[in-house]
């Protein structure tokens, strides 16, 4: 079932580049897909190591690895991620490094996750770079509600933040989507 969901998300191929899916898979599942705009992401955990494939605006694709540390019976979580992206709109490569802090809480059927994420991206190669390297530091504050449906976790995703690049005016970042994570498993303390 999870494989089908991930395949469907991949096939639909909509929205984004920090390993968003891994943040949501961290809710309770081993794998997750986020269908959204501008970022779509699928990811899976094996133990505390994760792998995510993401696409933003269908303008790039990135593959990222992540490590997580969990505490307070899985309610608090720290994730560190790194990866590489391929950009084809203006051909090039990007590099990503991210740090996310998450807090989970849930009732019998409804739960929420709050996250504070600091993904940074660099354009490593490519014609669109105004200089040799461009840094991106979106500060994303996320919060999502979800419901348990059998073995799955379903819920909306909303994140807002700022993009800070040296020498450039501030820009905003936003993410709207829908997460499917599963299968649900008992939390393990970190």
């Amino acid at each position: 079932m999870t494989g089908l969901l991930l395949a469907a998300t991949l096939a639909l191929g909509v929205a984004r580049a920090d390993p968003l899916a891994l943040r949501h898979a961290g809710v309770e599942g081993a794998a997750a897909g986020v269908l959204g705009l501008p970022l779509t992401s699928v990811g899976a955990w094996r133990g505390d190591w994760g792998l995510a494939l993401s696409s933003r605006d269908l303008a790039m694709a990135s593959l990222e690895g992540a490590r997580r540390w969990r505490g307070d019976q899985g309610r608090n979580e720290l994730q560190l991620s790194a990866g590489l992206g391929a950009l084809w709109l203006e051909p090039g490569m990007s590099g990503h490094l991210g740090l996310s802090l998450l807090r989970h809480a849930e009732g019998r059927r409804v739960g929420w996750t709050g996250s504070l994420s600091l993904p940074a991206s660099l354009r490593l190669l490519g014609a669109a770079a105004p200089g040799p390297v461009e840094a991106r530091l979106p500060l994303l504050l996320g919060n999502q509600l979800g419901v348990r449906a059998g073995d799955l976790w379903l819920g909306p995703v909303l994140e807002l933040g700022l993009v800070v690049s040296p020498g450039r005016p501030l820009a905003t970042a936003g993410q709207l989507g829908f997460v499917v994570a599963g299968p649900a498993r008992a939390r393990s303390s970190g």
């Binding site: 580049a17 501008p38 933003r56 605006d57 269908l58 303008a59 790039m60 990135s62 992206g85 950009l87 084809w88 709109l89 203006e90 051909p91 090039g92 990007s94 991206s121 660099l122 354009r123 490519g126 014609a127 669109a128 105004p130 461009e134 991106r136 993009v163 690049s165 020498g167 450039r168 005016p169 501030l170 820009a171 905003t172």
Partner: protein, 290 residues
């Protein structure tokens, strides 16, 4: 292999907005002899985002780039919740006079959300100018450009003008720089135009914003023009909040464009007659308030 196509510069021809006509004078306040056509394309922004943009360029009768390039570039910043295509009359006007108009399509039609999109769009057009394709030879990356913004787009244009010296000249159309934008630190030329019946933008804010400009500048009040006369097809409920148009819209736009044309010719083409006219500030239907 569709992604390989996305990586290419725009291919032509563009969609014709205005057919060429050698009888159009192209004097300040009149359309020029070129045709005008538009094309849309995407470029990468802020490392990995997709930024869509529209380019309106001097064109021949088939919608291909006119031969006299490279053309001076003008970045156009849309007003809040206004579509870029609603300014095509203005873009076509400028393109007919030999200007290349580059307009970023801002997310949610709110330019302030990403103030450097116009600079990114201009960079993309400069790269495409150096490649094979519709816009090959369209722009000279070493030539000065101008940035024009309407309403909220003007506040964004001011941010970019301060930030990016490629934008030699700035034009504010029914707009003013935000308090936090340090326009007083810039001594490059600027133009501020607003309509006498504009009831959307507070004229005192326009005047105060103009007073902060440090370089050669002109403030003009277009007699009888309102806020929504700057773009086509405004929503009825927005127009209700605006003052009335007092006169024929085409005439009022022509009088406003005489000032814009003079401003651009003076600073992007270094036309001495235009420079003199800009300094004198004597335009029909426009009260100079320098």
């Amino acid at each position: 292999m569709w992604w390989l196509l996305l990586a290419c510069a725009p291919q032509g021809p563009g969609t014709l907005l205005l057919a060429p006509d050698p009888d159009r004078s192209g004097l300040a306040g009149a359309q020029g002899p070129h045709g005008a056509a538009w094309v849309r394309a995407s470029t990468a922004a802020r490392v990995e985002e997709r930024l869509r943009l529209e380019v309106v360029f001097p064109a021949d009768a088939q919608g291909w780039l006119a031969e006299e390039g490279p053309f001076p570039a003008v970045a156009l910043v849309q007003g809040g919740l206004v579509d870029v295509e609603q300014y095509r009359w203005l873009s076509a006007w400028l393109a007919s006079r030999g200007y290349l108009v580059v307009a970023a399509l801002h997310d949610h039609r709110l330019a302030l959300l990403a103030a450097d999109d116009s600079a990114i769009a201009l960079s993309a057009v400069e790269r495409w100018s150096a490649r094979e394709g519709l816009l090959s030879g369209a722009a000279d990356p070493d030539a000065p450009a101008a940035i024009l913004g309407h309403s909220l787009g003007g506040a964004t244009a001011a941010v970019e003008w301060v930030q990016d010296e490629r934008f030699l000249a700035m034009g504010l159309l029914a707009s003013f720089p935000a308090d936090f934008t340090p326009v007083e630190e810039v001594d490059r030329p600027a133009l501020s135009l607003y309509g006498s019946t504009d009831e959307v933008v507070d004229p005192s804010l326009v005047v105060d914003g103009f007073a902060r400009l440090a370089g050669p500048a002109l403030l003009g009040e277009v007699q009888g023009l309102n806020h929504h006369g700057w773009f086509d097809d405004p929503r009825a409920r927005d127009v209700e909040r605006d003052g009335p148009l007092e006169g024929d819209l085409d005439t009022l736009r022509g009088q406003a464009m005489a000032v814009v044309d003079t401003f651009l010719d003076a600073w992007l083409r270094e036309d001495p007659q235009a420079l003199l006219a800009f300094e004198q500030g004597d335009f029909e239907g426009v009260e100079e308030r320098r």
